[in-house]
Amino acid sequence: MKLTHIIPLVSLATAVYAAPQSFDFKDPKGVNNAVFKLDAPLESINGSASGVTGTVSFDPENPAATTGKIVIAAESLTVPNPMQKEHLHSANWLDVTKYPEITFEAKSLANVKTEANATTADATGTFTLHGVSKEITVPIKLTYLKDKLSARVPNLKGDLLVIRANFTINREDFNIQKGQYEDKVSPTIDLSLSIAGAAVTQADVSATK
């Protein structure tokens, strides 16, 4: 094979290798979750959501270029008290029938710091809740776990990307009972996201066939 033929092949292979990977956050293990906490007089309202999906484009060589969208099914939000859950899903609060998705679409990263396989950054993007979209910046931590997918899902080989984020939103910014029940339910909501996405490598997909 002539050198003129090899060079394009090598450059193509390098380009494929260096291309950002797409991580799918639909977790077959059901571990991905978002936790929310609101202060209330008797006890804080602690709940979680498990219906996490979405994709994130991540390049281990260039974490600063990370973009993506995480979607949480509003219906999957749950609290231990059945009456509170009913209220939470109702038209007066989240109105999950009308607004079935809570999303965060990351557009850019700032203050990116990478150490070993972990990257911390401030992600700026659009957070949509209760039909209201608002641009927010949240501190995130990305952990890239190369070739660890098979450890979670047998017969699949690939990489994992773990995203963690802790931030606070104000329910009034999203027209959720604006100015109402502030003595009963805090207007601020603490959110904590712990999710893992998988990028199945092309070679491994063929291996599983």
Partner: protein
């Protein structure tokens, strides 16, 4: 009926208190599930599963005790059935007392 309602009220208090204590004496709201956290060793994420569990809260206590108060209060609606004593007999019984009292009063006056 009066006695039955009072026994029911007592039972309601007992059952409520025992259930509340037995399910952990939780001072928050009643819960029908409990979060179980499991660590995913590969990713380090704590997954949350919801185990159906009844945990009685203060609202359960209030409901139970409130019900007991209502039952106890309702018991006062029902009067104790009277034996309908003979009015003549009672009068004859009281007469001697009155007669006994009269001389005493008379003595006091003296």
């Amino acid at each position: 009926m009066k006695k039955s309602l009072r026994i029911l009220a007592l039972l309601a208090v007992a059952v409520t208190a025992i259930t509340w204590i037995a399910t952990g004496a939780d001072r928050g709201w009643t819960k029908t599930s409990k979060d179980i956290k499991t660590l995913d060793e590969v990713t380090g994420i704590e997954g949350i599963t919801h185990k159906p569990t009844f945990i009685a809260g203060v609202d359960f206590l209030a409901l139970g005790f409130g019900g007991a108060v209502v039952l106890f209060g309702a018991s006062f609606i029902f009067r104790k059935p009277s034996n309908k004593p003979n009015t003549n007999q009672t009068q004859t019984k009281h007469k001697p007392n009155q007669q006994l009292n009269q001389p005493l009063n008379h003595k006091q006056k003296i």
